[in-house]
């Protein structure tokens, strides 16, 4: 039964039907939730003892940086599924994630630069965390242009997926860069192993903003995947009948 469910869901047609029903409501819901998290973080939390009000960009910088990495991991999983099981839907989702990942990564770098000016006294330094995140951004751009450069889209999916698997090594490097080398960027405030070094009054809105941003971005991924399905299967009868 599980196998049957999987096969049904994994066909572009049924994914499209489900996404059509839930995609937009999910997106709107998490958009409002993220908006609420920002209002909470910007207006209803105390300033930081050291950084004052400038720390508040954390409610945008951390969700964006987190998603920049998570999206690449998701893309690696869907790419592996595509390569192993030849599941077309997985390739469509992979391809749809790349532009969203590029924008989110750019936003992470941009918000980090804005944060850096008042706190560090510089908007750009070539430390390991910042440089590896820039590499992530360039990889997203590279993946987008690789896929666009193939006339034969089935071939494009294959090369795209292989490149994603090669690039995913960068993710643990970004994550551990602040521990492996000396950096200007501070180390993680929230870890799995120890107590967060961020006060609860700031931690709760931060967690809230991260969860809301995850939902928001996955909502976008679903809508973008729908688009890709229509583009790639436009000659199939079920698409013509929509």
């Amino acid at each position: 039964m599980i196998k049957k469910f999987f096969h049904q869901f994994a066909s572009p047609k049924s994914f499209f039907a489900i996404a059509n029903k839930f995609g937009k409501p999910v997106l709107v819901f998490f958009f409002l939730l993220y908006f609420g998290a920002l209002v909470w973080g910007l207006f209803f939390t105390p300033p930081d003892a050291v950084q004052g009000d400038s720390y508040r960009i954390i409610y945008m910088h951390v969700p964006a940086s987190f998603m920049a990495q998570i999206l690449f991991v998701v893309m690696a999983i869907t790419s592996a599924v595509f390569l192993i099981w030849k599941l077309k839907l997985a390739a469509y989702v992979s391809k749809s994630i790349a532009p969203i990942g590029a924008i989110v990564t750019f936003f992470a770098l941009f918000s980090g630069s804005i944060w850096g000016i008042p706190t560090w006294g510089t908007w750009w330094q070539w430390d390991a965390r910042i440089t590896s995140t820039l590499i992530l951004f360039i990889m997203y751009l590279g993946l987008i242009s690789l896929h666009a450069s193939f006339e034969n889209k089935d071939k494009a999916d294959k090369f795209f997926s292989v490149l994603v698997l090669i690039g995913v090594v960068n993710i643990p490097v970004i994550k551990k860069s602040v521990d492996w080398w000396s950096t200007l960027h501070q180390s993680a405030s929230i870890t799995l192993t120890s107590k967060p070094t961020i006060d609860p009054v700031m931690l709760y809105p931060l967690m809230f903003s991260i969860v809301a941003f995850i939902g928001l971005i996955f909502g976008l991924v679903i809508l973008s995947s729908q688009n890709e399905i229509l583009k790639r299967e436009k000659y199939k009868s079920w698409v013509k009948n929509i």
């Binding site: 105390p46 300033p47 930081d48 003892a49 050291v50 950084q51 720390y55 954390i58 592996a80 390569l83 192993i84 099981w85 008042p118 706190t119 560090w120 006294g121 510089t122 330094q125 070539w126 430390d127 390991a128 292989v162 698997l165 090669i166 690039g167 995913v168 090594v169 960068n170 490097v173 492996w180 080398w181 000396s182 950096t183 200007l184 501070q186 180390s187 993680a188 405030s189 070094t197 961020i198 006060d199 009054v201 700031m202």
Partner: protein, 137 residues
């Protein structure tokens, strides 16, 4: 699992594995070259090994030593310490807002005869966030 799928799974693992190995070897070879700054004891050591010529710009990082800060003839003087060794820094210019004794700092400049002449100063804030009233307690 079907035979061809197993083969493809093996291929996927091989791609990830070889990529890990390649990047791992590169990072291992680069090792401390990827460090953003040197600590005072590292800088003193590299000075003894005559790695630095007088014109090499380096980055020195650590904590601003307590009670070492003073201003003399429009120049800022303070010491950077890693709690083992400390180096005297002279700097002319604006300091970032977060500059404070006992807090993290990175200075960029030249190290000549035991004194660090900084061109740029960056504040390195830590990963602790808390409201102002809690810090006093």
């Amino acid at each position: 699992m079907k035979k061809d799928r197993k083969k493809r799974l093996f291929g996927v693992l091989l791609i990830i594995g070889s990529s890990c190995l390649g990047i791992g070897l590169i990072l291992y070879a680069l090792n401390s070259n990827l460090d953003y700054f040197l600590t005072p004891s590292e800088l003193k050591q590299s000075d003894e090994n005559v790695v630095l010529s007088a014109n090499t710009r380096v980055k020195l990082g650590g904590m601003v030593k307590k009670d070492s800060f003073f201003i003399n003839e429009n120049k800022v003087n303070f010491e950077v310490t890693d709690f083992e060794d400390s180096i005297k820094v002279i700097y002319e210019g604006l300091l970032p807002d977060l500059f404070k004794e006992g807090k993290g700092i990175v200075v960029l400049g030249k190290y000549i005869d035991g004194i660090f002449y900084a061109d740029e100063v960056f504040a390195k804030h830590d990963e602790n966030y808390m409201p102002p009233n809690l810090e006093l307690n």
